[in-house]
Subunit: 198 residues, 4 copies
């Protein structure tokens, strides 16, 4: 896989490229990474293999690009006015996205082991974006006086989305609204507000 990832630069993708990536995602969801073939994508899109490889130098690049394209939208920060509402909204959207992209994420994960750049891209696309949202939400909560700034812990800031992703990817119990509610009400809020003055 190409290590410099020039294709992850930005968004000005042609309509044709978007179509190719959509087909890639579709076949990926249907058959999984191994049984996905660039050739099949090309055929289904009535494109030629050269066209595919001109844009994405390898199958892994293609799948990564499809994943990125598939998750590009989303990640708009919630503003419900309360910490609890914001956390629930974050959880909800994480569940939705994780459910949608479970096979794709698994495929990308599988490639991560041997592609240093991929790890970084994955970070940016799925973790860092949420960290920014979470940071904003928590800062707002601090400003509103709902929690103490000291309660925020950098080490496990992604506990909410992380656990939900685990549930979607690894366990066979995909996360539900209940999962999010209980996690927020029984774990996160108690933890964030516990002994507020500590």
């Amino acid at each position: 896989m190409s290590e410099d990832m020039p294709e992850s630069s930005g968004c000005p993708w042609s309509e044709r490229e978007a179509e190719l990536l959509a087909i890639t995602l579709e076949l990926l969801r249907e058959h999984g990474y191994d049984r996905l073939s660039v050739e099949a994508v090309a055929i289904k899109a009535k494109a030629s293999k050269a066209t595919m490889y001109r844009r994405w130098p390898s199958k892994a690049d293609l799948v990564l690009a499809a994943f990125i394209e598939g998750t590009r939208q989303s990640a708009v920060p919630p503003r419900t006015g309360s910490l609890r509402g914001d956390l629930l909204e974050i959880g909800r959207s994480t569940c939705e996205q994780a459910r949608e992209h479970t096979p794709t994420m698994r495929a990308v994960l599988n490639e991560m082991s041997h592609s240093p750049g991929l790890q970084a891209v994955m970070q940016e696309k799925f973790v860092l974006q949420r960290k920014l949202v979470l940071d904003g939400v928590l800062a707002d909560a601090v400003e509103r006086g709902e929690i103490d700034a000291a309660a925020i812990n950098e080490e496990i800031f992604d506990l909410l989305p992380g656990y939900l992703v685990f549930r979607a990817l690894v366990s066979d119990r995909p996360p539900t609204e209940d999962t999010v509610r209980i996690l927020v009400d029984d774990v996160l809020l108690p933890s964030l507000t516990a002994r507020q003055g500590r």
Copy 2:
């Protein structure tokens, strides 16, 4: 991949089989799932492809078996005398195992999307075993009066191992002892002991 998974039946594996699986694991860690070839395993083991395919009907079956074999031991319940100690120990061993088997788990995850049986095996091997351990630990804590039975929530019982696995598999910040300590002290214990008398 064969759907009935006859090879996941039990443990009376021959020494030869264990050797083949060990070599599989080794090459898997070295090269990743895609670049692992059954033939390479056979050659390294001075076995023949037929021998490999007689035991494991496909490459995916082989990798699954290797993963199971690699994680078969472990999961012995900790007994430190305190809930906090037990949780820390669970976290520590989860980190260790997750770190050890990250590439293998990613490969197995990748196959899960299209193999119903695999999902179940993964459950049993990585989630259910830990649930039993956790149940025991929490029951002991209840018995000791450290927590209230009502504090235990079935929905998110695997929050500790789940988040740690997420950190190992998905994020680029593998979990450390600090991660576990903070998670236990700042999140789990406050949650479990909050409003103890409720």
Copy 3:
């Protein structure tokens, strides 16, 4: 293929061996040499592969033995009282045998290129036996004064059976009684009796 051919020594074959060879012949006729497998013979005979290989050290040996067994009978010299009658009888029996064993002979031929011993066995079984018969027939004819001894030519003594075998093996016009009659009446007899005193 074993070069010393111990199995071609003689006829005291057990009933079981004859059965195995018969099955070999049957499958050979059905599927051809390539698609014949020793394993299939063993299975059909409810024998084990070891039993097969104990008797015939290779697939080629097995097929050869089956061919020999299949052609062992026959080749009884004809005595019709006239040269023409004898030649017709030889032709007739050659046609019959060739028709019967076309696939087997083709298979054996194919192996001959790389098995020196096989060539010799083939000679003995299919050519030399007929030469003896022919010699007898011609000697009788000389004795009866039908032909001159000088008319007999060592170089092409096997013209009759040879051409018939060619017709059966190579051309798509298997030899008929007409073929034999014309060959004998229009070619062989004129040649043998031409300018009888030459």
Copy 4:
């Protein structure tokens, strides 16, 4: 083996194909049909297995094509001015070709039993071509008054090449010039000119 034989259509073969077939013939002669492997041909030609199988759908097809290519030239009608000279020339070229292609022909023969199309191709390539030549030669002889038209017999027109092929393929006495000379002088010519006025 593919039954429609698209590759037997014509002659506009690329140079590359001819090279592959030449290597096939070479290895075939060296090792025989069984011990010939498509992969070995590919490696020797620095081609890939896919390239081989794209052109010839099976090993049998490949060998057949190689045989056809190897015998494509030849079969140019001789014109020596006399029936005897023409027959000797036909015999000589048959001997040469049969000697050259003995292992290949044996291999092809072996496949013929189970491939209807192959039988036909073999006819066209090895029998019909010679029939045309023989017809021409005999017609010329009739025209020259050397023989009577009635002496020509459709049933055994291929006696000369057929017997020579038998000698090359089956017997262990490959045909020599003597064989041809004796066959022509002592058998064919007497037969053809016998009772000329009949």
